[in-house]
């Protein structure tokens, strides 16, 4: 598979990374080089092979429904949650106004 500049622009938009024309021009051959290289995976006969789901055989563990059982994973820590926010006001995170 190869990508054209329009594809790169679409991927960048999907990934929310602003790119200008010159960056797109540079990315096209780079991404195509990587894609051409990974394309060799298509050679592998994977008939009857299930995609890997767990690296080490293991099942999902579930936790009990308890609020704040571990303070590290519980709530009630608004100051800590907001402490690094570029724009926090009145207990909220601020973002540019969204029109829905």
């Amino acid at each position: 598979m190869t990508v054209a500049p329009a594809d790169v622009a679409r991927i960048a938009a999907l990934a929310r990374i602003k790119v200008d024309e010159s960056e797109i021009a540079a990315l096209v051959p780079e991404l195509n080089g990587i894609l051409a290289w990974v394309d060799q995976l298509g050679e592998v006969d994977v008939t009857g092979v299930a995609p890997m789901t767990a690296v080490i055989a293991n099942q999902l563990r579930l936790r009990a429904d308890v609020v704040g059982a571990d303070p590290l994973t519980g709530g009630g820590i608004r100051d800590a949650v907001l402490a690094n926010a570029p724009a926090a006001e009145h207990g909220f995170f601020g973002v540019p106004k969204v029109i829905e």
């Binding site: 936790r63 429904d65 540019p96």
Partner: protein
């Protein structure tokens, strides 16, 4: 019966599918230990995980899985012993991780069905709506747009709250069916206890997929109206969307597959600008979570823990208790109503020394007509009823044993609601005990007939409906306390 929209070029059929998001009733969130209580101060129920701090990891809440499985069993759905969580990737300010943990490829619950009664007036006419799947996923946070001139505010209290997404098949064909489906689903969830069903608090909301087509034609392009939060609004959404689409199509236009928003004030829908972005969610298995493998014993426990469900209960009320289809429907529509009714029934049977089936009809009639009516006037409901099932049963026992008449019972109920006193106390205080004094009844009946000679003549000429009038007048003369059977007998004898 068949719902059709008549346009300028002929008839159209509407096709509806609902994706219902129901908040799973748990104390803590799906993947974190933060609380889920409604109405908390902004961002106070947010863990480091819910705020998607770097390096944070999800660990699933067993109760969320359990409640979703119980819900699945309640709609006769297949429970998948192997399921998995996937990430749905998109960027929005209410989605701190940049992805929602959901289940696309291997949902927890497979196909099931919900039986609905679209028309209250025809409780015997049912329709089965297919459920495609139920999957478990995270809720998003909330954006506030009206607090600041140039900013939206983000509250992550809901971020990470557990939802079941219950996806119907496109089996509904009218606003009434869509409304009935949502109402029935809410009933089931409340019975199961997996969701509180409080739609005004956002505990349950529906994405309404609507398309129109010529009857029998292939499906048309659908629109999805997001987060509609009442049965009435769902019906309004379907109604508006279907008519709008017919109008567009008949004018030669095409329906855009888009996300729309319902405006409750105007009853209309509009395109949602913020969600117009190309949908490419890049779903893939969440590498932070291993496959979810359910032990058969876990599923068995879920099954065993289910209460009697509304359909089974309704069936039992009609067959075993002999209730009318209407009453059976009304009494099972809410788990709380059925619970109240069953308490009333048990106490009635006990107080009157009869089998439940023998007191059930009287209890059901009294509850659905007398008590509901009275509570309605007071602007309250069964949950807050000043009259308990025990007190109601005591009142019914007074009628059943002939101590008071049905009409006196209405009066006693009013007093019970006012004073909170027991019915026998009120009857004794007001001297309401019914009389079987045949002399007094004979005298009263004779006076009534004498005063209404013209009506007696009409009756004897064949206008038999007047009998009820004579009964009513005699009862009135007796201050309502006469034994109605005796009144009947006396009047029958006198009128020949």
């Amino acid at each position: 019966m068949t719902y059709r929209i008549t346009g300028t070029t002929g008839e159209w059929e509407v096709v509806i599918g609902l994706e219902v998001h129901a908040q799973i009733a748990t104390a803590s969130k799906l993947f974190s230990g933060a609380a889920t209580a409604f109405g908390a101060e902004p961002n106070t129920q947010v863990s480091l995980i819910d705020a998607a701090m770097p390096g944070m990891l999800p660990v699933p809440n067993r109760e969320c899985i359990r409640q979703a499985v119980r819900t699945g069993i309640a709609i006769n759905a297949a429970i998948n012993p192997w399921s998995r969580f996937d990430r749905k990737n998109y960027f929005y300010a209410d989605l701190p991780q940049g992805y929602q943990i959901s289940q696309l490829y291997h949902p927890l619950v497979g196909e099931g069905a919900v039986e609905i009664t679209p028309d209250d007036k025809h409780p015997d006419q049912t329709k089965v709506i297919g459920v495609e799947r139920i999957h478990v996923e995270q809720d998003a946070g909330k954006l506030m747009h009206d607090q600041h001139p140039t900013q939206s505010y983000v509250d992550l209290n809901r971020s990470g709250v557990a939802l079941m997404e219950i996806v119907s098949k496109p089996d509904m064909r009218s606003p009434a069916e869509a409304g009935a489906y949502l109402a029935k689903l809410r009933t089931i969830l409340r019975y199961v206890g997996s969701c509180d069903g409080n739609m005004d608090q956002g505990s349950m909301r529906a994405d309404v997929n609507v398309s129109v087509r010529r009857p029998g034609a292939p499906f048309g392009t659908r629109t999805e109206t997001k987060n509609v939060n009442s049965v009435r609004f769902v019906m309004a959404t379907v109604d508006y969307e279907a008519k709008r689409q017919v109008k567009v199509l008949e004018a030669g236009g095409v329906i855009a597959q888009e996300t729309r928003l319902f405006d409750p004030d105007s009853g209309t829908t509009r395109s949602m600008r913020s969600k117009e972005d190309a949908h490419d969610y890049r779903y893939f298995p969440d590498p932070d979570l291993l496959p979810l493998v359910l032990d058969p014993a876990f599923i068995d426990e879920c099954r065993a823990s289910l209460p009697e469900l509304p359909d089974a209960k309704r069936q039992r009320y009609a067959t075993t208790l002999g209730l009318s289809a209407y009453n059976a429907g009304v009494l099972t529509a809410e788990a709380e109503t059925a619970r109240w009714f069953e308490a009333l029934l048990a106490h009635s049977a006990q107080l009157q020394g009869k089998a439940e089936a023998d007191v059930a009809r009287a209890a059901a009639n009294w509850l659905t007509s007398e008590l509901f009516g009275a509570l309605n006037k007071l602007g309250t409901g069964l949950t807050d009823s000043p009259v308990s099932p025990e007190a109601g049963a005591a009142l019914l026992a007074l009628v059943g044993k002939g101590t008071i008449s049905g009409s006196i019972a209405k009066h006693v109920l009013e007093k019970m609601l006012e004073s909170g006193d027991a019915p026998d106390v009120i009857v004794a205080r007001e001297g309401l005990t019914q009389t079987s004094d045949s002399g007094a009844i004979e005298a009263a009946a004779a006076a009534v007939l004498a005063a209404n000679a013209d009506k007696v003549a009409q009756y004897q000429a064949g206008k038999l409906a007047l009998f009820g009038f004579f009964v009513g007048q005699t009862m009135k003369a007796m201050g309502g306390k006469a034994n109605p059977q005796l009144v009947n007998d006396v009047l029958k004898a006198k009128l020949g």
